[in-house]
Amino acid sequence: MNAGADAAREVPSWRLLATLGVAGAAAGLLVVLVQGWAEPRIEAHRTAVLEGAIRNVLGEPARYDTLYVTDAGLVRETSGGIDASTTDRVYLGYDAAGQPVGFAITAAEPGFQDLIRLIFGYEAASGEVLGMEVLENKETPGLGDKIVKDASFVAEFEGARAPLLGVKPGAGEGDPGEVDMITGATISSRAVISIINHRLERLDPLLRSYVAAEHP
């Protein structure tokens, strides 16, 4: 190819810009269309997962309410210009007779690899944890992910009393808060326990006073 051919083939810069501009606009439009289709489905799935988890950790309550956590305590509706969608919340489940069975509380803190997001059921009056389910984790497959896959570890939380205390399997001394940790997943199981303890440290007084006031 000689210099003359090169010069003849040179494309003005406005054409380069126009090509990329038009392509970018078309690409954006396409992505927006697909996003419009996908977004409600993704949202619906997220809600369904959370709802299933709430039912699971509260032992299939008849219904549950969403309560917002504010400085003044738990409230059913936010007021004073607080955006409900970004406010911290807990879920209070009721049995068929309308009696509260416990709170479902989400919490997240770093585990071994990344944030562990979990939900647990909690009965404020007795301080008893009702159940625990990990919602999201990136723990090591085969080791740390036993916090999800090891059914006996998950069952340890049922009936344990807060504050929880992680112990080596079989080394417990009868403390009501004892949870047997997983061999090979010490950090991940300790993280799950401390996530619940930290969350309750802050929320427990609010939960207790709410139950005392509403359901004496």
Partner: protein, 219 residues
Amino acid sequence: MSAPSSRGDDLLRGIWRENPVLVQLLGLCPMLAVTNTVANSLAMGLATFFVLLGSSVLVSTLKSVIPHEVRISAYILIIATFVTMADLVLAAVVPEIHRALGAFIALIVVNCIILGRQEAFASKRPVGRSALDAIGTGAGFMLALLLMGAFREILGSGSLLGVSLFGPGYEPWVVMILPPGGFLTLGAILLLLGWSRQRRAPQPRVRRWPHGVATGRAG
């Protein structure tokens, strides 16, 4: 490698003889990262297949409109659009798998198999042949992913597509679903393929002496 250029060859070349992963050693990043289960491999393979086919057809259609100077930017734009669409569709249809694949769906944008096929093939050939080439290459990539995924899931979890194979007595070989297992498996597969290829390659001429002593030229 442009000996025969029939349509059948466009289609079949990428599946085995010029398999993008097993022969060209491209796209190793997703190959190692997401092949710890067959389901993940399948989703990754399908997403890549879709992106590759879509971009190849579009690039080939638009090849006379895209100025040579900005072709790479235009290809990346086209690929990124398809990847974003695949990402959203996977999140909406198979959310569990989408979560397991994490960032690797978005990273299909920089998968060199895809950009490589655009630059080397689709930007110079008619639409039909580009589509065949994309189907072949995409299928070849999927084949390699599934091979790895099946091997690692069977050894590392004792299951295939989530169905337990050996019962509760099987102690999973956990390292196989961790990153080192990916390297080990890929190494083993490449070793086997290289060995079989070498065995099938024409042997150096051997002159057989009457009394049965074979000598061959070294090398």
